[in-house]
């Protein structure tokens, strides 16, 4: 019981404290690919601190605009507190299943939309419509990943599903899903070529255009947390090596694996132009189809 609470707290601490670090690593790597030195690794922390200290310009009327950053941050926090970091289920993991996680992630996306629509800015609207399309097309891939593992262990429980692959070993379905997850990774973390909703050149950070100061800091932090979460999900579902049983060691192994995922994200992100939304949607459609196939294969027991 006590340990359950401790595990939950460790979850939050590790994620909130390290998410900016991983962002810093990605920025540093991107810079290296561009022959630049890049900002120091502490830069994302400083960015967030700076934003928190700035004036909070409320440029739109109504509560949705103020609520959006809070609910975006809250929903991603709720997601990370549930997940079994270091393969240890905490006090909350037992009470949630994969559906909860998918819903909470969707809530984060909806919050962004809410804020964008409330700001009534033309570019935010375009960004929101793109974000919405991305959400509709990419959430199924996430859901299918979790459902596939759930099928493997015959339970929707979060802890079981996360360990599904390690329990049943690699099969055809797992291999296919791993490939699909990797192909969708850039879209999950909203990096090139799928940073379409925030495209700074066309829609000037899209949904976030009217946000500033602490509100924007919350959005930024929740984006970083989301990226780290997706990297973590990949690690804990597809790389079940972290099974030493020693809790701190498991966490360290997982964090190292997350770092590797971020290296991949940064390299792919910096060597690709942004896609157009229509091209991206066609790409997502293929991914959804493939992930459905993977679930089908898992049902067949492959």
């Amino acid at each position: 019981m006590v340990m359950g609470i401790v595990y939950a707290l460790v979850n939050v601490l590790v994620f909130v404290l390290l998410a900016p670090f991983y962002d810093g690593v990605a920025r540093r790597l991107t810079a290296r690919v561009q022959s630049r030195k890049g900002p120091p690794l502490r830069q994302p922390y400083l960015d967030i601190l700076k934003l928190l200290g700035k004036e909070n310009v409320i440029s739109a009327e109504g509560w949705p605009f103020r609520l959006a950053p809070l609910s975006a941050f809250a929903s991603i926090l709720a997601v990370i507190v549930l997940v079994p970091l270091g393969a240890k289920a905490n006090i909350l993991s037992h009470r949630a299943d994969v559906i909860t996680v998918v819903y909470l992630l969707a809530l984060g996306g909806v919050s962004v939309l809410l804020g964008a629509l409330a700001s009534r800015n033309t570019f935010a609207m375009i960004g929101a419509s793109r974000e919405m399309m991305t959400m509709i097309m990419i959430e199924p891939v996430l859901a299918m990943t979790l459902i596939m593992t759930a099928v493997k262990v015959n339970s929707l429980g979060l802890q079981g599903a996360m360990a599904g692959v390690s329990a049943s070993g690699f099969g055809l379905s797992t291999g296919l899903m791993l490939a699909v997850y990797l192909l969708a990774l850039q879209a999950f973390v909203a990096k090139q070529p799928f940073d379409i909703a925030e495209a700074e050149i066309e829609v000037l950070e899209g949904p976030f255009i009217e946000y500033s100061g602490p509100n924007y800091a919350l959005f930024k932090l929740s984006m970083m947390l989301k990226q780290m979460f997706y990297a973590f999900l990949f690690v804990s579902v597809f790389l079940p090596a972290a099974g030493t049983g020693v809790y701190p060691l498991d966490i360290l192994i997982q964090l190292a694996a997350i770092l590797a995922v971020f290296v991949l994200i940064a390299v792919v992100g910096s060597t690709n132009p942004r896609l157009r939304i229509d091209q991206a949607v066609r790409y997502y459609a293929v991914l959804i189809f493939l992930s459905l196939c993977a679930v089908g294969l898992a049902l067949k027991g492959l």
Binding site: T30, R36, P193, D195, D278
Partner: protein, 557 residues
């Protein structure tokens, strides 16, 4: 068809309405016509193969009570250019618009409605183009009686009326400040979902009357430095174009060595500009690695420019009569070294992006405009060459030392943004080729500056064309009596190309807007002709943070 034949043909067909023809040099023909036949003569010249360049309006009210108008045309295949001159009394400044037949004349004519108070019969879109929305009606700043520093009181309640949006579309305001525009201009893009259905343009927000300034304030040899600051990228091009126009008008011959040095400077500028554009294009499609790598290669050129001219970008090399600094053998050696490095690195860059399908996806089939439309709209430069139009001023109207150079003009027929990219990348290697030839063949003697007499002959007309990195720049000069040009008309390459952008945008995705606009490498300030000189007095003060904040939030709820 050469100049003599065209002159004869026009005289035969239009009789006495063609008052006179004058050919000061074999590659120029000035045709004076009656106002009534302006449109048919222009159409006839266009039908004979003349490519419309630009129109020039000038004020001769003090001299003979008329306003003059010139349409210029280039015959690229036959290496000459024509200017059709006419005039109308200031009390009745009516001309037939040629825009219905030659759409690219639209802006020129609107410009003179604003600046000279001319009227054009049959103009399809006689809206304000250059003057600010609150500029009083009836004050035409390019007329001689209007002082150059006139500042009419500002008005708050006037605004440009955008075109009617097509049914079922939403308006996306791009600009005046937007991250895909690097200068203040306003595009209203009409979109249906993400598909662009139309576009209206309100530009000239940086128009500060550089032509007026140079016609009234500075002297001949100061204009090149002002001209250089028309554009931050192809500044040297404008200085050269202006100097060549004045030299042609006054009959100044510059030394061969000076011509070679001008060639070297222009090609170095082309190198830097093409690499800059390649980077910007990468940035506009969200590919920042191309941006950074292209600019990394470009940086060596910038250091080289600083070494040769004393400045990274505003070279300040060209003056009337020649150039200011020499290219010594040791500098030539340094240029060779940098060229070798740049060539190697650009080749690596080219190889790594030319086959990249992810770039193809964003550029192929985007911003399509057919060859016929491009000819009709008189597009210039890489934008035209990407659409199968084989024109290049360096080859067709050789200036400086280009007649000694052998080089290829890359032409592709893909008619889209990808074609522009290919053309510009290939031109980098052509520029390196030209530079090597120029350095090898440069005559070792000859003065840098030709002797320029005390006074240049007044009221001579001349115009000159120069291939800027992004297309053809054209300057028209009428020499004046007060040691400065009587009239100086600048036409930057973006001026014709920008007019065709709405056509390119039509039917494309909104996400492609930045790269389509970027593909013509628009230089709004060139188009607007900015001066860095701000002669207003007493208005200068430093704004604090609070003031700036207040200004930026004014008008918000």
């Amino acid at each position: 068809m050469n100049a003599v034949e065209v002159a004869r043909k026009l005289k035969e067909e239009f009789g006495a309405a063609v008052r006179a023809t004058d050919s000061p040099s074999p590659d120029r023909l000035f045709i004076d016509v009656e106002r009534a036949v302006l449109r048919p003569v222009s159409n006839r010249i266009a039908a004979l193969g003349g490519r419309y360049i630009v129109s020039i309006g000038y004020d001769e009210i003090a001299r003979n009570g008329t306003l003059g108008l010139v349409h210029t045309f280039a015959f690229d295949a036959d290496h000459w250019a024509a200017a059709v001159r006419t005039s109308a009394p200031a009390s009745d400044p009516l001309f037939d618009s040629i825009t219905p037949d030659i759409p690219n004349a639209g802006w020129s004519e609107r410009e003179y409605m604003d600046l000279l108070g001319m009227k054009f019969v049959g103009h399809p879109k006689p809206k304000r183009l250059i003057l600010a929305d609150d500029w009083p009606e009836g004050v035409h700043p390019l007329r001689k009686e209007v002082p150059y520093n006139l500042v009419p009181p500002a008005a708050e309640d006037v605004a440009y009326r955008l075109d009617e949006a097509p049914e079922g579309t939403a308006v996306i305001p791009i600009g005046p400040f937007h991250s895909s525009l690097h200068e203040p201009e306003h595009f209203a893009v009409y979109v249906d979902g993400e598909t662009i259905k139309g576009c209206d343009y309100r530009g000239f927000m940086t128009h500060r009357g550089i032509e007026k300034l140079c016609q009234t304030q500075v002297s001949y040899n100061e204009v090149p430095f002002v001209a250089e600051r028309i554009c931050g990228i192809c500044g040297s091009v404008h200085a050269t174009t202006y100097a060549q126009a004045v030299e042609a008008a006054a009959g100044i011959r510059i030394s061969r060595r000076a011509e070679y040095i001008r060639t070297v400077i222009l090609e170095i500028e082309r190198l830097h500009s093409h690499l800059l554009w390649l980077g910007v294009a990468g940035h506009l499609i969200g590919f920042d690695t191309v941006f950074m790598q292209a600019w990394r290669v470009r940086e060596r050129i910038m250091w080289l420019s600083e070494r040769i001219t004393g400045n990274r970008k505003t070279y300040g090399m060209v003056v009337i009569g020649g150039v200011r600094r020499d290219i010594t053998p040791e500098i030539a050696k340094e240029i060779e070294e940098v060229l070798a490095g740049v060539e190697k690195e650009t080749l690596v860059l080219k190889k790594s992006i030319i086959g990249d399908t992810s770039i193809h996806r964003r550029t192929k089939g985007v911003g399509v405009i057919s060859k016929e439309e491009s000819v009709r709209w008189s597009l210039v430069g890489p934008v035209a060459r990407a659409r199968g139009i084989d024109i290049d001023v360096r080859r067709d109207h050789p200036y400086a030392a280009y007649d000694d150079m052998t080089f290829d003009v890359p032409v592709v027929t893909s008619e889209d943004v990808w074609g522009t990219l290919v053309v510009r990348v290939l031109e980098i290697f052509e520029a390196i080729k030209i530079l090597r030839q120029a350095l090898r063949n440069m005559p070792s003697d000859g003065p840098l500056l030709a002797e320029v007499g005390e006074a240049l002959p007044p009221l001579r007309h001349a115009f000159s064309l120069v291939e800027a990195p992004r297309g053809e720049a054209a300057h028209y000069v009428i020499t004046g009596e007060e040691n400065r040009p009587e009239r100086w008309r600048v036409r930057a390459p973006s001026y014709p190309n920008l007019q065709a952008v709405p056509l390119m945008l039509l039917g494309d995705q909104f996400a492609d807007f930045p790269i389509i606009l970027g593909s013509i490498d628009p230089c709004f300030s060139c188009t607007d002709r900015v001066a860095v000189i701000d002669a207003r007095t007493g208005r200068r003060r430093v704004l604090g943070r609070q003031e700036l904040e207040n200004i930026s939030r004014r008008g918000k709820g």
